[in-house]
Amino acid sequence: MTVTAATRDAYGAALEEIGGRYPEVVVLDADLSESTRTYKFAKKYPDRFFQMGISEQDMVCTAAGLASAGKMPFASSFAIFGSRAWEQIRNMVCRANLNVNLCFSHAGISVGEDGASAQALEDIAITRALPRMRVFVPADDIETTQVINYLVAHRDGPAYVRLGRAKVPRVHDEKYQFRAGRADKLREGKDATIIACGIMVAAALDAADLLEKEGVKAVVLNMSTIKPIDAEAIAAASRATGRIVTAEEHSIIGGLGSAVAEVLAERAPCPMKRIGTQDVFGESGAPDELLRKYGLTKENIAQAVRSLM
């Protein structure tokens, strides 16, 4: 049976663990510490946890100040609320190249019943556009833990980590080695390549199963680093399979699909399709219902591949 776990849970556990090893790690939250799971760190290291209240802009700039004084801040909120501090992220964090880790949870439409106001579908686009920003979208709990450990070990300036609320199937085993900036090939094939991130990686693997029954062998790449994007892997996939489908729980404008399209257009053009929300807001509903309604299922991915055959 497939193990399922939410990436936010892995984040909370990872913070608690690195807190013991790195005294310079500090955590900030904006009144959502239960939901983002930073409360675990707060309980264990209360002196190094800063509750900022419902003040995301203040939180981001305070994290920048802490980083300027040698701390390693992890600042958390929901992706939609953290996004309101975009200009603070640009001018205070990225312009100054500070080691601020923005780990925002509840991204995407799978937030569910809270509806459109809470469903961040543009956060990859706006963070990806920022100079010096690294953007990570882990696919499962195992990868989340490794991304957080990577960030503590590689202090190369700002980072955005996109986390989810819902439990997702584990796509990696314990031996998995996350490599930043490198696509992670989860399945071999020859007829098409599905490039996915976040919760859509599991859906991409399921889509590949469906296609295999029809005699179509699809490569599945987990593109957990959106920036810097693994251009080599994308170009190689284009040359090897000649068909590419991207899948993300995000708008098709500006996210993974756009990043892949940019590489293809310049380096190795081939037919492609983007699975994602189609320039629309979400609405209230159960996560599974929403994923179906907005075209984010394994069936949608498989159909996109078929349309390119």
């Binding site: 500090v26 002196d47 190094r48 800063f50 900022m52 209240g53 003040s55 802009q57 203040d58 939180m59 981001v60 700039c61 305070t62 994290a63 920048a64 100040g65 802490l66 980083a67 300027s68 004084a69 040698g70 701390k71 801040p73 200009e87 603070q88 001018n91 205070m92 312009r95 100054a96 190249n97």
Partner: protein
């Protein structure tokens, strides 16, 4: 670390700093002289009397920090940083030029001695809070000074940060409001009134002091009180004059964001080189 506490001497340095502000913006052909000139005495008091720092080691971990949240007023900061030895004085004539270490708004990656990158208003107090929190955590005794403009407090983030500092008892932080009453589109009270500004900060549980921001004696006394006030942050509301020091620039909003013309520069040089004492 340059130390000058004699007020007559400081007044003379202030005159030179005002000339620096005008010369550097004139050479650049742009910049923000008005709000730089209102802040001269305060920034001088910080760098010549109050703060500990080491120009040989700009990133010294125990230094006091100065965060110029009103980053457009960087000409005053650049003048003083060069005069206390962070970089050669002639650099101020390369202000705003391509490749210069002196950017149009402060950039901590490019300028030795600049403790925060600013330029977009409303963010410096939050940043200062972060530095002050790190200082408390590390049990360091450095202090953090944050200068804001008065128009800047129209930014909502200022009040988020104003709530944070007393919540964390940041008595190692001192904010300074350069209250010159003018912003780009005119007087604060015409654009969007910020008064009663002292009451607002008092209501946010700050220790509030008010001074004439051009009177060294009053500035020194306020900085002394801020240093010895424990348990909560202090804000010094400095009543100042925008464009202070040049008669035709004083209280004129137009000099917020433009440099002097050649003719105006001649007049200003005369006034500042032969000040009416």
């Amino acid at each position: 670390m340059e130390r000058v506490t004699d007020i007559t001497q400081l007044k003379e340095i202030a005159r030179q700093v005002r000339l620096d502000i005008l010369e550097s913006t004139f050479a650049a052909g742009s910049g923000h002289p008005g709000g730089s000139m209102s802040a001269v005495e305060i920034v001088l008091a910080l760098y010549y009397r109050e703060m500990k720092y080491n120009p040989e080691e700009p990133h010294w971990a125990d230094r006091d920090r100065f965060i110029l949240s009103k980053g457009h007023a960087c000409p005053v900061l650049y003048s003083i940083l060069s005069r206390v030895g962070f970089f050669p004085h002639e650099e101020i004539l390369r202000f705003r030029k391509l490749g210069s270490i002196l950017q149009g708004h402060t950039d901590m990656l490019k300028t030795p001695g600049v403790d925060a990158s600013a330029g977009s208003l409303g963010m410096g107090l939050s940043f200062g809070n972060g530095v002050a929190l790190a200082g408390k955590l590390d049990r360091k005794d450095y202090r953090v000074f944050v200068m804001m403009g008065d128009g800047e407090v129209q930014e909502g983030e200022v009040w988020e940060a104003a709530m944070t500092a007393p919540h964390y008892n940041l008595d190692n932080l001192c904010a300074i409001l350069d209250h010159n009453e003018l912003q780009i589109d005119g007087f604060n009270y015409d654009v969007k009134d910020i008064e009663p500004i002292a009451d607002k900060w008092r209501a946010f549980c700050w220790n509030v002091l008010e001074v004439n921001g051009h009177d060294f004696g009053q500035i020194f006394a306020a900085l002394d009180e801020a240093r010895t006030t424990k348990g909560r942050p202090t804000i010094i509301i400095a009543h100042t004059v925008k464009g202070r020091g040049v008669s035709f620039m004083e209280r004129v909003a137009g000099f917020h964001g433009r440099c002097l013309t050649k003719d105006e520069m001649e007049l200003a040089r005369k006034e500042l080189e032969y000040p009416l004492m």
